[in-house]
């Protein structure tokens, strides 16, 4: 009796899971881009960025990545471990 609803639910789950996987794939790229930003900062002259500010930025990005990875890993954990989503 609940067959159609069940199928719909599964499909939504699969869809959500695929987007989570997309996010997991995207995260390192985002990290690499964010950590490339310091390359744009000027290295000499009077306008240089103070090291304390640089530390806050780099570690800020770091914390963001860790939290994001944590959230993604817990979401991905709640789903079945073997999935047919290998071929997007």
């Amino acid at each position: 009796m609940s067959r159609p609803g069940n199928a719909l639910f599964l499909e939504r789950r699969t869809y959500r899971r695929r987007r989570l996987v997309d996010a997991a794939r995207f995260l390192p790229i985002l990290g690499a881009v964010l950590w490339s930003v310091p390359l744009l900062w000027s290295s000499d002259g009077a306008e240089t960025v103070p090291t304390s500010r640089a530390i806050l930025y780099v570690f800020g990005v770091w914390c963001f990545l860790i939290v994001a990875a944590f959230l993604l890993s817990t979401r991905l954990r709640s789903d079945p471990p073997e999935e047919p989503v290998e071929r997007p």
Binding site: V21, A24, R25, L27, P28, I29, G31, A32, W35, S36, P38, L39, W41, S43, D44, T48, V49, P50, T51, S52, R53, A54, I55, V58, F59, W62, C63, L65, I66, V67, A68, A69, F70, L72, S73, L76, R77, P81, E82, E86
Partner: protein, 894 residues
């Protein structure tokens, strides 16, 4: 002296605790995993990435170059945060293929090429040597610090002997726990546990020093920030090339370092641990690097100029009189160094013994009949010797390089060395076109460039590379200067070396792969690696005896077919005196099986498959299943093709036959039409001619009567002809509807005689009957059957040329059939015409009997419809026709 002695005592006590931890973990693992295999232990074991280089070197690095030290941790963070891309696949492949080391992985991917394995092993050993030297150096330096603080008496003689004894101690510990047993999976639970403990110790130590520096020495976070900005590293001064290159390099090194591969892939218990590590390991790295800059800046402030910043972690607490904290810090550094050396030695010794020592030993001993216990012993010995050798090499490098260079610089040399494996590794697991030749060529080129531009110059000018080479290039060729290849000058030496070595490596790898052709095994392995997620579920444990037999049976079923395979196994089991289908995999049986399998998949493949299952080495059963399935599919496909081509040729033959038949029919039709035309026109000619004569008039009455009679007779002849034609066409089309009844044969013959007599005007033909005519009843179409009889009797009446014509009707029953022979006493039909009599329009001789020559053709058709036949019977003295009726329609009367 007291402090130094305390230090040694603490060290020994700490090592004893580690022994205990490893021992307990080992015992616990033997009883069952429990808390040992958890994701936290896995994550902590990964921390061997943070060696003494991190513990001491990062602070020194920061003091010299500001925030550049962070790149060493940013790369690994990105790799772990992006675990879905690469690590997941690497771990799955490692488990599916039962990979024992990174050299094994590369060799396995490229067709189990041992040459590649040897190459990777040599590269790894050479690259790891400076790194191990670095650990020895750091421990030695830290001892020195305490010795100096202690009074400096023993300081001068200490370094060399300290390094030596530390090396010996590490080697002994590694041998004890790294080679206690030979696990098929190369897992070392005790060592991993000890490393996890060390990971906690070193993190705590570094955090403690950091907290002390910020809140104990400086006045909190704000004050430290101010101090940082005011220091000599207070401004962002970064070479963008180095920032990017180092980030890439550290990411590559994480993937390619043998010790990282060991803990990340080989020691991995469950894939899901990776998910936890994906955020927990970056967190660990971040915590490790969090207080590095504060310690460096405060150290620069506090310590006199010229103090080695690499040791700030120790010297700052000491200078503040915090001996306990300094001791903790020392233990942290000691942990970092020892854990790295232990795991690196285990990983490298696995590679050295598996890919170099064992092949050589097997070759020397002929590789023949070896008792399994012997091999075990030899492997363990090889491991132990390899561990000692690797650690000794590190010691040698330490002695050679004189411990001069900064820690960070040495670490980077090592990183760049192992990064040469990266193109083959990544290409191998993502690109099917990657070939063994490509991997080998790329690796060789990268290795050579790295040696020349980075490793050899690291010993310092004049030690190995003469100063002249450094300045003017090899052989005086300017474009071969180690720091400015191809004349490209002005690059940072590190960036220069990494770009050239990895770049040329990748380029050569791609080019040679594109140009070369992989062997079948390479292609097979390539498919297994790249499609690892399609082929393998997370594989389980190893094989037992029955598991082997069962796996063999399953595989054989897929190749031979279920029934054949089961019969084979059952017979063998019976021969061995075992019930069921699972015989012991004895060598004899394996030979038989291989022979059977080679009939289906070829000898080499069969050998490989059986070998893989029984040997239980690097290819998992699931993968063999995948191969078997592919083979089965291929065989199915080819047999389908065969069937199709058979069907095609059958169809073609049918078409050809149909065409021939049509051609024949067309010729027959022409002949038939021509015959019909003739048979119709002949009576028409008489009719027309005499009609014209009669119309003209002027004839006598008898003549008129005669000609009218001719016209009448020819008209009847025409009608009969048309009737016959119609009859024949209906019979030939099979549209005739039979009126099956029971009838007495004698009655039918009577009717036929009467009809034939009447039709031919009753000339004197004597008819006799022979055999049990009166008793026979038949179930048939009586009208049609008597039509045949009439035809035969009237033929005899017409054609029998004897003086006293006589027809004998002879009835016999032969087996299933009833035979009725019509034999007259005339001259019969000449042999050359006998097979023509049943053809349409055939008339024998020149006798005119008024028939169109369709009678016997009609008879033949009728008998075919009635399930019997009519044929000419030669050699009976006259014309003889035999009618055969099937007996199942003929029933004897009571």
């Amino acid at each position: 002296m007291a402090t130094l002695n305390v230090l040694v005592a603490v060290c020994l006590a700490y090592v004893a605790v580690l022994f205990l931890v490893a021992f307990v973990a080992e015992r616990a693992a033997a009883r069952g995993r429990g808390w040992l295999g958890g994701p936290w232990v896995y994550t902590l074991s990964l921390s061997i990435y943070c060696t003494a280089w991190t513990f001491y070197g990062a602070v020194g690095y920061a003091a010299r170059s500001g925030l550049e030290y962070l790149t060493i941790y940013l790369g690994p963070t990105l790799v772990f945060v992006g675990w879905w891309w690469l690590l997941r696949k690497l771990v799955r492949i490692g488990r599916a293929q039962r990979v024992t080391s990174i050299a094994d992985l590369i060799s396995s991917r490229f067709g189990k090429s041992n040459m590649l394995a040897v190459g990777v092993t040599i590269l790894s050993v050479i690259a790891a040597t400076p790194y191990i030297a670095l650990q020895l150096q750091s421990v030695t330096l830290s001892f020195e610090v305490f010795a100096r603080a202690d009074g400096g008496a023993a300081a001068s003689s200490a370094p060399a002997s300290t390094a030596f004894w530390v090396a010996v101690g590490l080697a002994v510990f590694t041998v004890l726990f790294g080679t206690r047993n030979l696990d098929a999976n190369e897992r070392h639970h005790g060592v991993v546990m000890a490393i996890a403990v060390e990971a906690v110790v070193k993190l705590c130590a570094l955090l403690a020093v950091g907290v002390f520096v910020i809140w104990g020495v400086a006045g909190g976070v704000g004050d430290v920030m101010t101090r940082i900005d005011a220091s000599e590293i207070g401004h962002w001064q970064m070479d963008g090339g180095r920032w990017a290159t180092l980030t890439f390099l550290s990411a590559a090194a994480l993937l390619c370092l043998p010790r990282m591969f060991q803990v990340m892939v080989v020691e991995n218990d469950e894939e899901r641990h990776l998910r936890t590590a994906s955020w927990a390991f970056p967190l660990y790295l971040m915590l490790m690097s969090l207080f590095v800059v504060p310690i460096a800046v405060v150290g620069l402030d506090l310590m006199p100029a010229g103090t080695n910043p690499d040791l700030f972690v120790l010297t700052v607490p000491l200078s503040q009189g915090q001996d306990g904290l300094a001791m903790l810090s020392f233990i942290g550094g000691f942990s970092s160094a020892t854990s790295m050396v232990i795991v690196a030695a285990i990983a490298l010794s696995t590679m050295v013994s598996n890919h170099i020592v064992m092949p050589i030993w097997l070759k020397l001993t002929g590789g023949g009949a070896i008792v399994s216990g012997d091999v075990r012993h030899v492997v363990l010995m090889a491991r132990r010797v390899s561990i000692a050798g690797v650690v000794f090499l590190g010691y040698l490098y330490y002695q050679l390089s004189g411990g001069g260079a900064a820690l960070a610089a040495i670490g980077l040399i090592s990183f760049a060395g192992v990064a040469q494996v990266l193109p083959a590794l990544v290409g191998g697991i993502f690109w099917r076109g990657a070939t063994r030749a490509g991997a080998l060529a790329g690796l060789t080129v990268g290795f050579a460039v790295w040696l020349y531009t980075m490793f050899l110059p690291s010993f310092g000018q004049g030690v190995i590379l003469p100063a002249a080479v450094m300045q003017e290039g090899l052989f005086g060729l300017d474009w071969l200067r180690p720091r400015a290849l191809f004349g490209i000058d002005g690059l940072d030496p590190l960036v220069h070396a990494v770009i050239w070595s990895v770049g040329l490596n990748t380029l050569v790898f791609l080019a040679v792969s594109l140009a070369s052709f992989p062997s079948p095994l390479e292609r097979l392995q390539g498919a297994q690696f790249i499609n690892v997620f399609q082929h393998s579920q997370s594989p389980g444990g190893g094989f037992g005896g029955t598991a082997e037999a069962e796996d063999l049976l399953i595989m054989s079923q897929r190749i031979l077919g279920a029934r054949e395979a089961q019969a084979l196994f059952h017979a063998e089991a019976a021969r061995q005196g075992i019930e069921g289908y699972l015989p012991d995999p004895t060598p004899e049986f394996l030979q038989v099986l291989e022979r059977e399998l080679s009939g289906s998949v070829g000898a080499a493949t069969a050998h490989a498959m059986v070998g893989q299952i029984v040997g239980g080495t690097t290819v998992s059963v699931e993968d063999l299943m995948a191969v078997a399935d592919e083979t089965a599919q291929m065989m199915e496909y080819s047999s389908k093709l065969e069937a199709q081509s058979r069907e095609l040729s059958r169809t073609a033959r049918q078409l050809r036959e149909a065409n021939e038949k049509l051609t024949r029919l067309s010729v027959q039709k022409d002949a038939f039409l021509s015959q019909i035309s003739h048979e119709l026109r002949t009576p028409m000619t008489s009719i027309r001619s005499f009609s014209e004569i009669l119309r003209e008039g002027g004839l006598e009455r008898p003549e008129r009567h005669k000609y009218a009679s001719i016209i009448h007779g020819e008209a009847i002849r025409l009608t009969r002809l048309l009737d016959d034609l119609l009859d024949l066409s209906v019979l030939e089309d099979g549209q005739v509807s039979l009126n099956i009844r029971r009838a007495r044969l004698a009655d039918l013959l009577d009717q036929a005689e009467a009809a034939a007599g009447a039709a031919s005007g009753g000339t004197g033909l004597e008819i006799r009957r022979d055999g049990p005519v009166d008793q026979v009843w038949i179930t048939t179409d009586p009208d049609r059957l008597s039509q045949v009889f009439i035809n035969l009797i009237s033929n005899a009446r017409k054609y029998c040329d004897a003086a006293g014509p006589r027809l004998t009707i002879n009835v016999t029953q032969a087996g299933e059939r009833l035979m009725i022979d019509f034999v007259d006493n005339g001259s019969g039909i000449p042999p050359d015409a006998q097979d023509l009599v049943f053809e349409k329009f055939s008339r024998i001789g020149d006798q005119k009997a008024g028939g169109a020559g369709l009678g016997l053709a009609i008879c033949r058709e009728i008998m075919a419809r009635l399930g019997g036949s009519v044929s000419y019977l030669p050699g009976q003295g006259g014309a003889a026709f035999r009618v055969i009726l099937p007996l199942h329609q003929a029933m004897a009367a009571q």
